[in-house]
Amino acid sequence: MFRSTQRLRLAQRVTTAALRWTAQPVVRPTAAMATSGWRMFSTSGQQSIWIPFDRDQLPEDDPRRGEVFEDETDVVIVGGGPAGMAAAIRLKQLANEAEKDIRVMVVEKAGEVGAHTLSGAVLEPRALNELIPDWKEKGAPLNTPVTKDSMKLLTSSMAIPLPHPPQMNNKGNYIVSLSHFVKWLGEQAEELGVEVYSGFAASEVLYNDDGSVRGVALNDLGLDKNFEPKDTYERGMHVKAKVTLFAEGCHGSLTKTLMKKFDLRKDSDPQQYGIGIKEVWEVAPEKHQPGSVTHTVGWPVDNTTYGGSFIYHFEPERHLVALGLVIGLDYQNPYLSPYKEFQRFKHHPFVKDLLEGGQCISYGARALNEGGYQSIPKLVFPGGALIGCTAGFLNVPKIKGTHTAMKSGMLAAEAAFEKVADEEQDLKGVVLDKYEQSIQDSWVYKELYEVRNCKPSFSTALGNVGGILYSGLDTMILKGRTPWTFRHKHADYETLKPAAECKPIDYPKPDGVISFDLLTNVSRTGTNHSEDQPVHLRLRDKSVPVERNLAIYDGPEGRFCPAGVYEFVDDEANPGQKRLQINSQNCIHCKTCDIKDPSQNIDWTVPEGGNGPAYSWT
């Protein structure tokens, strides 16, 4: 019923002008601004949207203008994931060797280190071996070495073995829970004297007068839904640092602002992304083959959608299997639901057989980088640098990014230490050019350069077939030694076709045993956001979701969000109309909405620290 009314509306509303229009908020001061001191953006004039207030416009005695507590550190690292922790550990190692004392702080938005970390994952220990050679004695949770590697092409009923490219040979690698690995890295960092502050979200980059990065500001605590201070209000402290390393992971919220401010993407292609949706299952012991790694391509995604799955058997004592589906966010059909594709995938006879008799114990999702070499931005700017997935060093054919992220953190740490340890230097606006140079000379770039043409080869008219053929040729024979470099021509948010041009996909209903409905799975993420706080998913223009996303694309945000945050519901105030409901409490911080919104209207900002998923075994 809903769909047919939508098609009528689409027929009436879709014009070529609407298709070419991109959201450009127009600043039109409203009367409200004078009274409340808030700046509002509005294009349609009727519904105005807030953005975080301008403190200077508030009355003098407003607690939000209160005194700021500022602390100084030598290095602050935003994000306690593999890259952030590797950088912190390396800094302290260098300091201890040189018998110097430097202060290193890691600020992590998750309540516990590792709680927001999710990945496949098969870890290549190359960077870990360099960072902590005696990781085994120190108890690193690398418990399952890879014993078997296979690749399959799925059709709706068959699983055909395929030869896999040499990059995907996983001998010497380990199947891990990245969340547990990061937790262990955090313990190593703390032992070395790194100050790890989990449960604190860095919400703003602080700048000096000359425009260089001065550090970060943490979220205000105790604001209610309308940004008004509650009794528990406390202004977010400022962390001033000589060097600020941003390690926020794929599509970081602060990194987004840095890209704009310093034009870091000037000479690189737009970043390409995928969404990885994953479940961890406890399977029947007789079906468990610890160390087995399987990747599939083909069904359920069609030839024009980049996608593939992984199935990893790990933790011999607990018979765990990590499985998931990665779908390129450059998909074109707005009716595609990555979550439902994954649920459908599990019903393939090859997968269903493995899962029958088992139990799903964990679920989660995260966006990941697929742009590779061509999309790496400029990494350094005055006062700081980007490390890890927030810059984008994931090796797409290998589907591994942890080792390159860690190495980038280590190289940035080495460059930063040199500057910080030299007390003679005035470090305002320091540029870590040595980092940019050393990473280009390192195995990270060598690896990424070799496979640079694989992912883009999927974006031709031949679709996945062309991609598999070219990538096979490139990885096995050419090894990237070609004079050409395919480019990424579009950003992911530009690739959606209008709903009128596409067919809705008829997904099977979840059976509750192998496949699950979305909300059941969301409860397995342990996600929670405390109630009375500003909604962290901000709409630049409140009218766009219904007037554009729903009208032209039939509301893709209701389908690509793996946590059921976005829902188009009946608008009680305007009968017959719809409105976008944002269930921000469900958010699992995957960042897909910020990436894929065709109107680029959704701004993912960081909620109160400690909120978000509580992943385990992911």
């Binding site: 709680a115 502050y197 943490l218 406390e234 406890e282 342990g526 385990s616």
Partner: protein
Amino acid sequence: MSNPLRIFVPVKRVVDFAVKVRVNPAKTDVDRNVKHSMNPFDEIAVEEAVRIKEAKKAEKKEVEVVAISCGTAKAQETLRTALAMGADRAVHVEVKDDATLQPLAVAKLLKAFTDKEEKKPDLFILGKQAIDDDANQTGQMLAGLLNWPQTTFASKVTIENEALKVTREIDGGLETLETKIPAIITTDLRLNEPRYASLPNIMKAKKKPLVKITPEDLGIDVSPRIQTIKVEEPAKREGGRKVESVDELVDKLKNEAKVL
């Protein structure tokens, strides 16, 4: 009161309330490899203690808030949060395995600690129950061991010199009790809204004293008196069925559900 009013607040590190708890493969316990945080009722207890301290400060009366936790080394994180919220010092009673630490053992540890302390506590404020075992026993057992009055499920607390007035939430409504300190208070949900432990306070908390002791130091045997034999997930909910008549209902209740 010339001496500072001493408030002891026991806190417990529990599985975070938002985590979906699961049974471990051995079916002996839940999977504790998940996110932990301070028991929400203990947060309320710390908040109440700190509020009393702040209120008395205005009257120029000194109050000392001491946070205590019995648990593994990780309990120190919880103590640091309590210190960041405003506690003055912390005591960590370190045990090897806190999954088997039961309320009676904790109450005994707290009594032994009280006996040993030179600066005796005037008040214990505890959370009414921990969200992992839902035991609701420690405060009451401690009151029994110390022979102090207990005011449980407090939703409002007032202290005037030695007089303690507590409003309790009971099944029938609200009950107000008057007693004298020293006493035990256990907190219920509506007592207050705990403050955030902000990062500047966490940094300041690092300088506050944290003392570590063991059950052996206190001469207490913490071995469990109750043995958990098995932990299972609740039975899967079966679908309901509609019946056509009352007779059919009675028949099914008698012969299938066997409740008649």
